[in-house]
Every structure is written in structure tokens, then in C-alpha cells.
């Protein structure tokens, strides 16, 4: 069995637990609040499949046959939504506490785990401080941000954070989060519809803005990863973005190539992908972007998680291509051992 690196495993850590890593007076503020009351809500979200074992599943799996992957990148559920919080101060406090918790509690006790710093993207100074202070901690392999379409962080002051990551060769992940109660999702009256639309919409919006604002030329050595929206949205975005750019290049004066060419430089988590989907359409997406740009991501233990079988059942990929997606692409990206 080939190396398995799960680039998107969700872990649970409570705000109360993170409070232990906060400075006063924020620590008291958090501890005095009703549990859960400080967090933005996630209306309609199905319960996670945290009880994978109880359901008889083997979980994400690894090359040695255990229920765990060889390595996994940990994403904290509660932190993902902090960018929706009205208080930037609280978001920054949580981001800092999360970094301390990773460095002092989680990573030292989970040798197969790796993690990304959470960038409180609305606070550039804090983002830079986090990268400076924790960017070299063992097990920290990058940083991630959420809710980018709403924030559009392409202003001059944002460059410092990205440059700090670029200088350390730390990738930047974009993890989608959506709030059903926020436009444009309020037009949907089922969670299924909001879910189907929101993640590709979120990532497509951000990717379009990111590329057209010239970020691939401004921060050329910053590896970016788009998570959680499946892969087929890439076809649509590549073709529409190229069409628009060819007609209005003055709106993207920093670009030197078609937008789709820049898309092929970035990385994409595979989740959710399903061999039962139209194989021709899936194959066209891998052909368009390149197999080397995809990394297996389970999104476990969320309700819509994928196992490595989701990749192994893509019959149009040969064994070497499957192995690359399951492990070696991520090993190169995150500088992990190429063998389990």
C-alpha cells in the first residue's frame, strides 16, 4: 500500500480548552461565557461522523492498514468559523491560543499529525506575529485562512503575511466555510442545496479574485491549497476565467499568462470526490489541472468524509497517479517523508 497523507482531518478542541492558552483578560472573558455562546453558529450542519469506528468503518486508513493515515493535517472545527465573528480581537486571541495549543499540547502528543496556523486575516500584524513565532515549530507545515471571498485580502497591507509564509516556504491553505444565514445562500431552503453550492462558490470566488488581482505574480513562490469543494468546479472556473481575461486583460494587468495556467500551479484537496460521478468529467479535471496538483483530503470525521478508496476507485488514474494523490504530492508540498 502506498503512503497516505490526509491533508484535511478535522479535530475537536473546545474554546474552553483553548482558553488555557489565552492571556488575561481574554481568558476570563471566555471562561465566563456560556459554553458555545461565543462562536458563530453553523445552522443546519449535519452531525459529524465522529463515531466512525462505531459505524464499523475503518476510517481514513493508511499504508500499514491501520485506521489512521500515515500523516494527517489537523483542522480545528471551531476555529474555522472565527472569521465570521464580529470581534477581530477575539478571533486573533483564538488564533494565538490555537497556535500555542498546537505547539505545546497537540503536536507533541500526535507524532503523525501536522497542522497549519490559523491566520486571522483581518489582523495583518497578528498574522505576521503568528508566522514569525510559530512558523518554525516542529509539525507546523503552513497556515490557513477561511471566508476569503468576503474579506478579499489583496490590499497592500496583506502582502506582509503572505511574504512571511513565502519566505519560510510554508503553504497557505484556503479552507471554505459557509453560513447558511449569509447571502447568497439564503435563497436555498434545503441544507443540501446550500452545501452543494456554497463550497464551490466560495472557492471559485476566492480563486478568481486571487488570480485576477495578480497574487500569483506578486507572491510567486507561495504555494496555495484550495480545500473542500471537490474538483469539478475547476473546469468551470478555468474556462470562464480564461474567456473573461482574454477579453479584458486591463483588469488583470499583473498576469502574464491565462488564469488557467496559474491555476495549474496551485494545489487542490480532493474532497469530496466520488468514483460514481461522471468519470469523463472527473478525468477532464485531472487532465486540465494535472495529477501532481491534487492531494487527498478526507474531511474526516465530517458527515461527507472520503476514504482513500475514493481515490483508488478512480479507474482512469493508474497506480502511480493514485499514489501521488494519496501521498507523495502532499509529501512534497509539506516536506514530509515520501515513504511511510
Amino acid at each position: 500500500m502506498s503512503l497516505v497523507i490526509d491533508a484535511d482531518t478535522h479535530i475537536e478542541v473546545s474554546l474552553e480548552e483553548l482558553a488555557q492558552f489565552m492571556a488575561q483578560p481574554m481568558r476570563r472573558e471566555v471562561e465566563a461565557a456560556t459554553p458555545g455562546s461565543l462562536l458563530p453558529g453553523t445552522l443546519g450542519a449535519p452531525p459529524s461522523a465522529a463515531t466512525l469506528q462505531q459505524k464499523g468503518s475503518d476510517g481514513p486508513g493508511s499504508s500499514d492498514g491501520s485506521s489512521e493515515p500515515d500523516y494527517w493535517l489537523a483542522f480545528p472545527g471551531l476555529v474555522l468559523t472565527m472569521t465570521f465573528h464580529p470581534s477581530v480581537r477575539l478571533e486573533t486571541g483564538v488564533a494565538t491560543a490555537y497556535a500555542r495549543w498546537l505547539a505545546n499540547a497537540y503536536l507533541p502528543t500526535h507524532p503523525r499529525a501536522r497542522a497549519m496556523l490559523y491566520l486571522p486575516i483581518r489582523d495583518t500584524d497578528a498574522s505576521c506575529r503568528l508566522v514569525d513565532e510559530f512558523g518554525d515549530v516542529a509539525g507546523i507545515v503552513g497556515a490557513f485562512a477561511t471566508n476569503l471571498p468576503a474579506l478579499q485580502p489583496f490590499e497592500n497591507h496583506d502582502m506582509r503575511s503572505y511574504r512571511a509564509l513565502e519566505e519560510r516556504r510554508l503553504p497557505l491553505g484556503f479552507h471554505p466555510v459557509f453560513m447558511w444565514t449569509e447571502p447568497p445562500l439564503t435563497v436555498f431552503d434545503t441544507y443540501t442545496a446550500a452545501y452543494a453550492y456554497a463550497y464551490p462558490f466560495t472557492q471559485a470566488t476566492h480563486l478568481m479574485n486571487w488570480i485576477l488581482s495578480g497574487m500569483p505574480e506578486r507572491i510567486p513562490d507561495l504555494a496555495c491549497i484550495y480545500y473542500g469543494a471537490g474538483i469539478t468546479w475547476l473546469n468551470f472556473v478555468a474556462h470562464r476565467l480564461d474567456q473573461g481575461y482574454m477579453r479584458r486583460p486591463s483588469e488583470a494587468p499583473l498576469l502574464k499568462e491565462r488564469p488557467s495556467h496559474y491555476m495549474r500551479r496551485y494545489f487542490y484537496g480532493t474532497h469530496p470526490v466520488d468514483a460514481n460521478d461522471d468519470a469523463g468529467y472527473l478525468k477532464a479535471t485531472f487532465d486540465l489541472i494535472g495529477v501532481g496538483q491534487f492531494i487527498y483530503a478526507s474531511n474526516s470525521p465530517q458527515w461527507d468524509f472520503d476514504t482513500p478508496e475514493a481515490i483508488r476507485r478512480l479507474e482512469f488514474l493508474d497506480e502511480a497517479e493514485q499514489a501521488a494523490i494519496l501521498g507523495s504530492n502532499a509529501a512534497g508540498l509539506f516536506r514530509l517523508p515520501a515513504a511511510s
Binding site: 497592500n156 506582509r160 511574504r163 482574454m246 477579453r247 486583460p249 494587468p253 499583473l254
Partner: protein, 137 residues
Amino acid sequence: MDWRAVCRCDDVTAEAVTVVEVDGVEVGLVRVGGTITAFENICPHQAGPVCDGEVMGPVEVLLDSDRRMLDERFAAHRRILICPWHGYSFDVATGECITDRKIHLRRWKVREDDGVVYVTVPGTRAAHRGQEGSNAT
């Protein structure tokens, strides 16, 4: 090589394309530095009248060492021709599409002599082989 006189040199400027007709084929002339370039008036995108478009500097952005945007302006060192149909933009010095080098205008040989502009007659493709455009995408 069969050259045809098409206009006076003074008729060709750097600010706009001068379109002339030679044996039923429209050719656009534009001055680039000390010379004149000539392109067939057919956009390789969807056959629009590309030479009827504006000539201007492309937008360029100045970045500092930290990749911050300092200024946005029309570039002075380069001129582009923008097709009026869909906005495909071509470097007037080379005919290359500025967003995809595989696409370029069909270029005609041109020379100036005693105040008169001459181009090769359309149809004698061998005469200007190597300078022809392509519809490749």
C-alpha cells in the same frame, strides 16, 4: 515580390490604425517607433475588424519590493491594439496577443519609399510566409 502603394507615410500614425484596402483585403497600418507594421484586419479570435480598435498602452502595475501596489498606469514603452468586438489585445510591434502568445495577427510585409507606404499584395502567401498570423489557440 509584388508591392502595392497604399498611402502616404504621413497618413500612418502611432495613435491609431490606418486601414487601407488592397484587392479587397483590409490591412491596418500603424507606426511603431521608426517603422510601420501592417496587419490584416481580421481578429484571430472571431474574425472581428481588429484594426478598427483603439491603440493604447497596456495597463501596468508598479510593485515595491514587498509586492505592494504603488501605482497603476498606461505603459509608455509598449502599444497594443484592442479588437472592438471582444477586447482581444495585440502588441502592435509584433502582432502577438498580449494574453496568449500562441495567438497573433496576420502580419504583412511593409516598406516605406519616398514618402509612400507599400505592402505586399494579398494572395501571394509565399511572399510573406514566416510573418503570417495564426488562429491557434
